[in-house]
């Protein structure tokens, strides 16, 4: 008997058919991958399963019985738990309070038993590898630990089904392994797991079966091992396999032309910041994409931020077109022509509550105003230009950015950066958390920009993307440059070798 079964479910929002006759079956003890591009209907399906949305049509059977969940609490009580991409706990409350919220242990007179709650929290979390003081505020823990608390909470409530929506997007590799051992254990206990992720390696490592959605419709369901990676990608994208194979996994082409004899557009010399950066030096010529390689915590994001003036430096210089930025600040960096796309676009990039137009306009207010009065016509022109150039899919310039898909949010952010007329573009994980289609578009956009003569610095945890996208790769470890890959040596093997050689004692 299936643990959870969705039969022919449809859900329509104004203007969008988010789910169209989708069926989905989860067996006990099964780890089931749910994949599709952003906007394919994964999130909607999850929200239908967890009682956030009510389906317009179709049925949900849970443990053999037809069920409908009116609210998330209903689904939770029935044993369906969800952990979300962004940790959805209360940062200001303690770790123990978060773990037990809504089902705190009580003493004889019905009051919350703090001591027991903290003791039990410690015991439970130890099994998830979290050793921090459970009385601490959750928000003071590293993201990975917070995610583990969320997982422990989801499993604790006698869950029969655990839905994981991009659970690894904020985890470090070792934390991913901890997560996987927990998943294997849950699998052994007969708990059904719905696993949503964009990361192919993870899917093939942990999932047995797969359901692929595209444009709100079911396109494939079956055993994952029977499906080649390239088949999976082509099913998700709805493109021919031969086409995917020919183009490679990324949209990046060959090397870029650099104008003969051109000096570097960006020179970074001796960046030093206490324990984080040690004498980081490299340069970027116009039309060149320089990758920053290295493991998490190697100093890649810090380097990017430091060049953009958003990270305190103890020493070192940044030069744009031969002009030195004395003590970089974000304002000076922008004026000099440096544009930074931060890693966390929601927190540091877009303004979710503002429209597409206003987000793009933010960067160019000073350029489009005279005596402090903003010219609407000029802003509209700029917004229109970048919306069509970057193929931003929105109902119009006035749509809220928060309502767009991740890929389109990223494009709005890039539009804002480009509108400042930069000479150097610093991209920190430009394709993280966006779907395969948008990823390809962002990658080809980076190509185009480099071809137009922009200097690009690219940070990506996806080795294939880094190698295929970069002309050269600067390898960092513990905040210092430990290798340069150029020419034929820009390959994933050489990158791995360089990182590995740089780390005499392997952390694994």
């Amino acid at each position: 008997m299936a643990l959870l079964e969705v039969v022919d479910v449809s859900k329509t929002f104004p203007g969008v058919k988010a789910l169209d006759g989708v069926s989905f079956t989860l067996q006990p003890g099964e780890v089931h991958a749910l994949v599709g591009e952003n906007g394919a209907g994964k999130s909607t399906l999850i929200k239908v399963l967890t009682g956030v949305y009510q389906p317009d049509r179709g049925e949900i059977h849970y443990q053999g019985q037809p069920r409908s969940f009116a609210a998330p609490m209903d689904a939770q009580r029935a044993g369906i738990s969800t952990i979300y991409q962004e940790v959805n706990l209360i940062p200001l409350m303690s770790v123990a309070q978060n773990l037990f919220l809504g089902r705190e242990p009580r003493n004889a007179v019905g009051m919350i038993d703090r001591g027991r709650m903290e003791r039990e929290a410690r015991e439970i979390l130890a099994e998830y590898g979290v050793t921090a003081d459970v009385r601490r505020r959750l928000g003071t823990l590293p993201l990975g630990a917070q995610q583990m608390v969320a997982l422990a909470r989801a499993v604790m409530i006698d869950a029969r089904v655990v839905i994981m929506d991009e659970p690894t997007s904020s985890l470090e590799p070792r934390e991913v392994q901890t997560l996987f051992s927990v998943i294997r254990r849950l699998h052994g206990q007969g708990i059904g797991i719905v696993y949503v992720s964009h990361r192919m390696d993870e899917l093939y490592e942990i999932c047995e079966s797969v359901t692929i959605l595209r444009d709100g419709r079911l396109v494939h369901t079956g055993r994952l091992a029977d499906l080649e990676r390239i088949e999976l990608v082509s099913l998700m994208l709805g493109r021919e396999m031969s086409e995917v194979r020919r183009q490679g996994f990324t949209e990046f082409g060959g090397d870029h032309e650099t104008p003969e004899g051109a000096g570097p557009v960006l020179r970074v010399d001796g960046l030093t910041s206490r324990t984080k950066l040690h004498d980081v030096t490299f340069d970027v010529r116009p039309g060149e994409v320089v990758g920053l390689g290295g493991l998490l915590g190697a100093g890649r994001s810090e380097t990017i931020k430091a060049i953009g003036g958003a990270y305190p430096l103890d020493g070192g210089t940044v030069e744009v077109d031969g002009v030195s930025l004395k003590r970089p600040t974000t304002e000076r960096a922008v004026k000099a022509g440096i544009a930074v796309q931060p890693e966390d676009r929601k927190a540091e990039g877009i303004v979710a509550g503002l429209s597409v137009r206003d987000n793009i306009a933010l960067a160019v207010l000073s350029k489009t105003s005279r005596f402090g009065i903003v010219s609407d016509a000029r802003i509209d022109e700029i917004v229109q230009r970048y919306m069509s150039r970057l193929r931003i899919k929105a109902s119009g310039p006035d749509q809220r950015v928060g309502d767009l898909s991740g890929g389109n949010q990223q494009k709005v952010l890039l539009a804002r950066l480009l509108a400042t007329g930069p000479k150097v573009l610093l991209l920190d994980e430009p394709t993280r958390g966006i779907d395969v289609g948008a990823k390809a578009e962002v990658q080809s956009l980076i190509e185009e920009l480099a071809a137009e003569g922009l200097g690009v610095v690219l940070v990506s945890s996806d080795a294939e993307e880094l190698v295929e996208g970069s002309d050269r790769v600067v390898v960092l470890r513990d905040g210092a440059v430990v290798g340069h890959l150029t020419g034929d040596r820009v390959t994933t093997e050489d990158l791995m070798a360089s990182i590995a050689a740089a780390a005499p004692e392997s952390p694994a």
Binding site: P72, Q97, R137, A145, D158, L171, R174
Partner: protein
């Protein structure tokens, strides 16, 4: 409850032993300052007052301070719950006055009515606030501002623009405001009892945890299964009830429903709550802090009264200064707490 046995690598969740210990300690110290800062200031100010003003040093004066602080304490208690959810209740000043007038009027029917009528009416207005805020998702500021104006209108209407004064007719009810036990005024006992109950409710009940969760992150709280609407309605009802009770207690003390006092009480209550270390954005704070905040404002008022020739309006200047300092300190402390 499911538990997992061994077999999971003990990795996630620590940034190395030293880093964790340091952030743990910083977190604890900063947390302590946040929670007990108001108390420390209260003790300091009280010690200064004891040293400087001879008249401050009497049991009588201490009693005066406590009795005067009882009604604001009740209002600030309700306000603490509201602010912890991330809301605000501007209607309490008006409800306080309305509660006083209603209590004095209803006292002709006896003790029970003198208490029940203001509680029912003010609790009802709180319920109305809560329902609007929970179901229409209107901003608490606007909803309770409307209630402030509405309640003030009702009070003016039933008191004929303040020209009709209702006198407390029930001796039993009057005792609530004028009597004492062990030399301490009845209303002080009442406030202390309700504060204690409030502390237990906040720390040891599901409702209390929901209040914190709501202020911390409403979306996350909803996904975690917290009854968001019920909790919101609950805090506004509680706030209305306590404001009405404060008004009734004050009427019992004064012997009549006075219609002119009480404007601006809501702002004093908000100030006391924030000075007490509760974040105006919700999610963190304590009733103990609010008690210290209320007493601090009371002691400052009393000190200024001791300086005979000083205009008592200076109290507001000093309270305002304290408020500004506390908000700046809170901002700095929170930043410290988030740093790794």
């Amino acid at each position: 409850m499911k538990t997992l046995n061994a077999g999971v690598p003990a990795t996630a969740g620590s940034t190395g032993p030293n880093g964790v210990e340091r952030t743990d300690r910083t977190d604890r110290i900063v947390g302590l300052v946040q929670r007990q800062g108001a108390l420390a200031v209260l003790v300091t100010v009280t010690l200064v007052a004891l040293a400087v003003f001879p008249d401050f040093r009497s049991l009588d004066n201490a009693g005066t301070i406590l009795v005067a602080a009882a009604p604001p304490m009740l209002i600030a208690l309700g306000m603490t719950f509201v602010i912890l959810t991330g809301g605000i209740d501007l209607s309490v000043g008006s409800l306080y006055v309305l509660g006083g007038v209603l209590a004095a009027w209803a006292s002709q029917y006896g003790f029970v009515y003198a208490l029940l009528v203001p509680l029912a009416v003010c609790g009802g207005i709180g319920l109305f606030n809560g329902l609007l805020i929970a179901y229409t998702r209107m901003a608490p500021f606007i909803v309770t501002l409307a209630a402030l104006l509405g309640a003030r209108g009702v009070m003016r209407a039933i008191s004929d623009e303040g020209s009709t004064t209702y006198v407390v007719e029930s001796d039993a009810f009057g005792t609530l405001g004028t009597g004492s036990l062990l030399g301490i005024g009845n209303q002080v006992w009442l406030a202390a009892l309700l504060v204690l109950i409030g502390m237990v409710v906040l720390a040891r009940t599901g409702f209390g945890q929901s209040v914190f969760a709501l202020g911390g992150s409403e979306d996350a709280a909803g996904l975690m299964g917290v009854a968001v609407r019920r909790t919101k309605i609950g805090v506004y009802v509680l706030s209305g009830l306590l404001a009405g009770l404060a008004g009734a207690v004050n009427a019992a003390k004064l012997g009549s429903g006075v219609t002119v006092l009480g404007a601006g009480m809501e702002l004093d209550a908000i100030a006391a709550v924030v000075i007490g270390g509760t974040l105006l954005t919700g999610g963190a704070g304590s009733i103990g802090g609010t008690v210290a905040g209320v007493l601090l404002l009371g002691v400052i008022q009393n000190m200024i009264n001791q300086v005979g020739d000083l205009n008592s309006n200076w109290q507001q200047v000093i309270s305002g200064t304290f408020l500004a300092v506390v908000v700046v300190a809170q901002t700095v402390l929170n930043r410290l707490r988030r740093v790794h």
